[in-house]
Symmetry: C2
Subunit: 338 residues, 2 copies
């Protein structure tokens, strides 16, 4: 056994951690107008930008995110040993087509909106264990593909309840490697599926909050640190409704998160924009916020220790129509300047 | 770096390999009547067996496969450190609901019909690197859920062309651990996406065959062995059309597979049954054949070295409707008695 990875319950502590070498974030027009606009590497001014379909636009954004991350890492696609990617589309086709373009060995992943962090965790495992020198993980989403697939095409103009969230049009990619660097991936906690029986598919924040609380509790206990070890805990994407529930659930477990140091990606990305209801969501939300905004703040030294606990709602339209409740999951990863 | 995992290109050679501790295969009525009927651990006599939906039946089969594998390994669910699972349903809901029941840390995967091997590879990485003591991987499919989702409900009685394949109603699960045992997971090759432009979504065998040839070529070269190192090379699931194309593609690359030692799961599972057209397919096909039939033959000493190269077609109905071609992928894993 290697000794570079210590398993503690559902957590991995990386004693020889991988480096987050480079990261990129791509957004659409609405994301660019939000408070994090300046933290994207590239912003499209149109949600389709001349592509034949929104699906092709989603794939294009994912691909540009990957290409920019590779360029920022100062390498070429062939230097990437393994590519880990996922998205919200049925059969994660945006990821499959992006993997086709990159022509690198590919692992397809699905953890709904937590996919970027599932990829980051597995990438870190590969590098820390010596199974890879360099990996890339990515995830993305598009409001027009997701709304049509999961609910109704935006053109219908359906009413939405206040607990609903708005799927982000964004993508993020990160390169992980065994070389020296500023940001290390020091620990990870792999989530269990938690489902308290919510069936309202608009209330994904409420459905995912218990999984977030479960993973945070496990992470702090298994890593042996308290919440204030981290300068910032980032959930993604509980939205305003789920965030309040998460704070409450953790408080009841004796974990009091400092509200100034606990941020939700879904609350952050669009600021006070009322048109997004409870906030942003989608694979691209935590991916672009983590690999854009948070990456920059870590690189600038404004943050030293960040725990990203991405959350995913593992439902499908079919499972909702069949009256199944919504299983939630949350995967957490610690990024630190050390 | 650990030294237990040697990376050679897109392959991993496990110098301290994980053990395949136990495996299970569950099938439906048609699978039970095929030539591998006796190799299933449990067979349902009805495709729905009283469940409210075919989707719930698919999940139930996956869950029973997991429970039987756990029982055969002589452990309980809580002994499983990580659960890796995937299926063909949109947002892999069968896997998510199974993970909910098991309540173990969960990685959702998608590689279409190659998902079981993606899970087996990542499971082996976790155990070989010391990141887990025991993992479980699983995959499953159901003919009624897949046909409805990807093509038409079976009740429509649509005509199908001879190159089409029949989605298997089956599930398989395997437990991988760091303890002593008969079958070791000695090497793996992670596939690249290969797409030669086939757009006929009935011809998945033809679409996936180039990916299989690509992975076999890479595996043999990177492991430094010839095809006859293996007692058996198993593809899953190219069917009769894809198998012939694969043999031809490899022959042109100078790799001549011995036809007696190269079998395709899709050709094997239903024998000469003409109602399945070119053969079986679906996540459950390679999963149940590998974790049922092949596992038993390895345990019995009839086989000593097997290379399972699962294949997946990374299309969706949406991508086909949008005239996209079919990306193929093939992940390979070596199981050996050593």
């Amino acid at each position: 056994m290697s000794g570079t990875i210590v398993q503690q319950g559902q957590s991995w502590i990386f004693s020889v951690p991988a480096t987050l070498i480079a990261a990129s974030a791509i957004g659409g027009p609405k994301e660019g107008k939000g408070p994090l606009g300046a933290d994207f590497d590239y912003l499209f001014s149109d949600n389709r930008d001349g592509q034949a379909s929104f699906e092709q636009m989603e794939q294009r954004m994912l691909q540009i995110a990957c290409e920019m991350a590779i360029a920022k890492a100062g390498c070429v696609a062939d230097d990437i040993d393994f590519f880990l990617c996922g998205d919200l589309l049925n059969q994660i086709t945006s990821s499959g087509f992006t993997a086709r373009s990159l022509a690198r060995p590919y692992f397809g992943l699905f953890a709904a909106c937590a996919t970027a962090v599932e990829g980051l965790i597995l990438s870190s495992l590969m590098v820390a264990s010596g199974a890879a020198k360099k990996t890339m993980c990515a995830a993305g989403s598009h409001t027009c593909t997701a709304e049509r697939q999961f609910r109704y095409p935006n053109e219908y103009g359906c009413q939405k309840p206040p607990q609903s969230q708005y799927t982000t049009t964004a993508a993020g990619a990160a390169i992980i490697g065994n070389e020296e660097g500023v940001i290390k991936i020091t620990a990870a906690t792999i989530g269990r599926v938690v489902d308290l029986g919510i069936t309202d598919s608009f209330n994904m924040g409420g459905a995912m909050a218990p999984a977030f609380a479960d993973t945070i509790t496990a992470h702090l206990q298994q890593r042996g640190v308290s919440a204030d070890y981290y300068d910032l805990i980032l959930s993604g994407d509980l939205g305003r409704v789920g965030r309040d529930i998460a704070l409450d659930l953790l408080y009841r477990r004796g974990i009091e998160l400092d509200e100034r140091r606990y941020i939700d990606c879904g609350c952050l990305i669009y600021g006070d924009d009322k048109a997004v209801f409870a906030g942003g969501s989608g694979c691209g939300c935590v991916a672009s916020v983590s690999f854009g905004h948070i990456y920059r703040r870590l690189m600038a030294g404004e943050l030293n220790r960040v725990l990203i606990a991405a959350t995913g709602a593992l439902l499908s339209p079919t499972s909702s129509q069949q009256k199944q409740s919504i299983p939630g999951i949350s995967h957490a990863v610690a990024l630190e300047r050390i």
